[in-house]
Symmetry: C2
């Protein structure tokens, strides 16, 4: 069973709902490309059509790793707008639309459901479970979307916390500037996860169905050690390291803590999709990250990291940890920017389920 | 917008999960009939089939008003067992199965999802919203089930709380032994709700699709005032009345409080289904209620009523109210049975979506 560390639920000051601006900026930046992708590539005539009036075609959309709103609702509306326009342009009546909101079982679905747009033009359903496995019946989806969720690994490679392994990730919480073996351990786990992801989606997407993935990535030819995720979490790492140095946290606890995040290089992801064999890659854009190159403030860090930190370090350390995080020189200082070295890129990947 | 009063969520001592035995007994009693209904009436060959190997048929089940487990999981498993046997008997490969768990937005879906059976043989989804309206795309369901949920009205008739109306329900919390006009107000609201329910299901069920409804009902020719629901809630009514008499609760608050429950007579429900026109009634069994004729104990009452009572009377009265409920002579006494006068009946209704 994969470990689950959802975003912080509800709508409190530390909630994901109130602290997901950077994710929204990234998705907003991809909006034009998303519309164009749907317009250029959606095959209207290939949807199953049934002759009787009682039956109808249905267009089914899934947002995988949707967390809670508002980002998912905004993006789903964007997708539906584009799909609607495409149908209108094709002079085909728009089918009824069903939207599946997926995230881990521990996601705050109660909050998600309570905040569903009241004027929505679709039938909504929540689907709990890890997207590395099957979530939907065969060939039942027409459009899959996943925004800044696929960098989550299903689990951490064990060797990262093993003092006897060359991949022991001592003194770090991610693979940035880490020895080659640490990066390799992350790479191997990511490959397994993405294989599972595409295998599942290959079964679930109807022939001709589209999938758009927004993924934090690495430029061509870079190593995991150069990942742009690492600087983003550097203030958290240095806060934890300071606490170890001051005797507030055990060194063992720190050394055995790692973040289950990974962003692939262009060639890594491309190879994994090709190897799956079910999808044609229609678009693979590499863009300078749309997210501003600033460190996450304490609320943003807390919204994303609180559950994973609690799970490893225990509840009792959390308030102190985030208090110190807020006073970290990179967070407290107003000039809290890290260098734009070109390593922070985002992938816009559009694939189409083959007809076979 | 309909008011929402879900069962008490989670798994605490007052939760619905721990206090829904009577609902389970009722559903268990219908198990044999459910299996037979599926066996005798499910049209295997009418499911849409698609020729390509990438596509597949899918069998979709919805439990409307499912609350949280374990009852819904047990019944869904029973349904799937019967469907599987029917396919096996017909020598047709079982399609993949998707199950939609529906209840009000305020239902504890987080708990429902966390307790989904790990070894389930279906894809699970949660669908939030009132079942009096549309919840699913057209013709997308193959089997609908609803167990002891349809006695919930979408709202209370306003005149019940209006001191100037002949339907003013002074001193009572339900229609038992009430004036004719009170019963009529309930009857009219129920008719509206059921019309909406069948209208929505008529659109959502695929042609040939089956729907099984377990409904607390009234024998032929009885009036709402004779409803068997009323005695069930008599201890709650008398507890509230005692609190009014002792000055612990305002009389106005009491007089304006009513339970949004109604159970129809055989002819009432039959007429409403016929008027809808989309369904053939294949079975309409009237059974002596399988639930033991005992009053709900304080935990059971609390699991079902806490939210609705809080909403009307406020949080501050709840502990006192249930403390007094537990000491009510009908609850505290071991001989807490009410007469089995034949009025407590349950309907097992099986309808089939016409092919038209």
């Amino acid at each position: 069973m994969a470990e689950e560390f959802p975003m912080t639920g509800g709508d409190g000051p530390n909630s994901y709902a109130k602290n997901s601006n950077s994710q929204r900026v990234a998705a907003d930046g991809a909006w034009g490309m998303l519309v164009a992708s749907i317009f250029e590539n959606l095959d209207i005539q290939t949807l199953p059509s049934r002759p009787t009036t009682a039956s109808s075609t249905i267009f089914r959309i899934a947002d995988l790793g949707c967390s809670v709103g508002p980002n998912t609702f905004i993006q789903v509306n964007n997708i539906i707008d584009a799909v609607s326009q495409k149908y209108h342009q094709s002079a085909v009546e728009l089918p009824e639309i069903q939207v599946y909101f997926n995230d881990l079982v521990s996601n705050d679905f109660n909050y998600l459901f309570a905040t569903l747009p009241r004027d929505r033009q679709y039938f909504a359903a929540g689907v709990p479970g890890p997207f590395h496995g099957r979530l939907f019946p065969k060939a039942s989806l027409n459009f899959v979307y996943s925004s800044y969720a696929l960098h989550w690994l299903s689990k951490l490679p064990q060797e990262l916390g093993d003092a006897n392994s060359p991949a022991f990730n001592k003194g770090r919480i991610l693979h940035g500037s880490a020895p080659y073996e640490v990066g390799q351990a992350y790479t191997a786990q990511y490959a397994k996860d993405i294989e599972c992801f595409f295998h599942a989606r290959g079964q679930e997407l109807a022939p001709g169905g589209l999938m758009v993935l927004l993924i934090p990535g690495r430029p061509h030819g870079t190593l995991p050690a150069q990942s742009s995720l690492a600087p983003y979490y550097a203030p958290l790492e240095s806060t934890l390291a300071d606490m170890v140095n001051e005797g507030l946290l055990s060194e063992d606890k720190f050394d055995s803590f790692n973040l289950p995040f990974y962003c692939p290089s262009v060639e890594e992801l491309g190879t994994l999709i090709e190897e799956n064999g079910c999808f044609d890659i229609l678009k693979f854009e590499i863009e300078a990250a749309q997210t501003p190159a600033i460190f996450p403030n304490v609320q943003e860090c807390r919204a994303g990291m609180e559950n994973i930190l609690k799970n490893h370090f225990g509840d009792e350390i959390i308030e102190l940890l985030f208090d110190r995080y807020s006073k970290n020189k990179n967070i407290a200082g107003s000039a809290s920017l890290f260098a734009d070295d070109g390593l922070a890129v985002g992938f816009f990947v559009l694939v189409k389920r083959k007809y076979l």
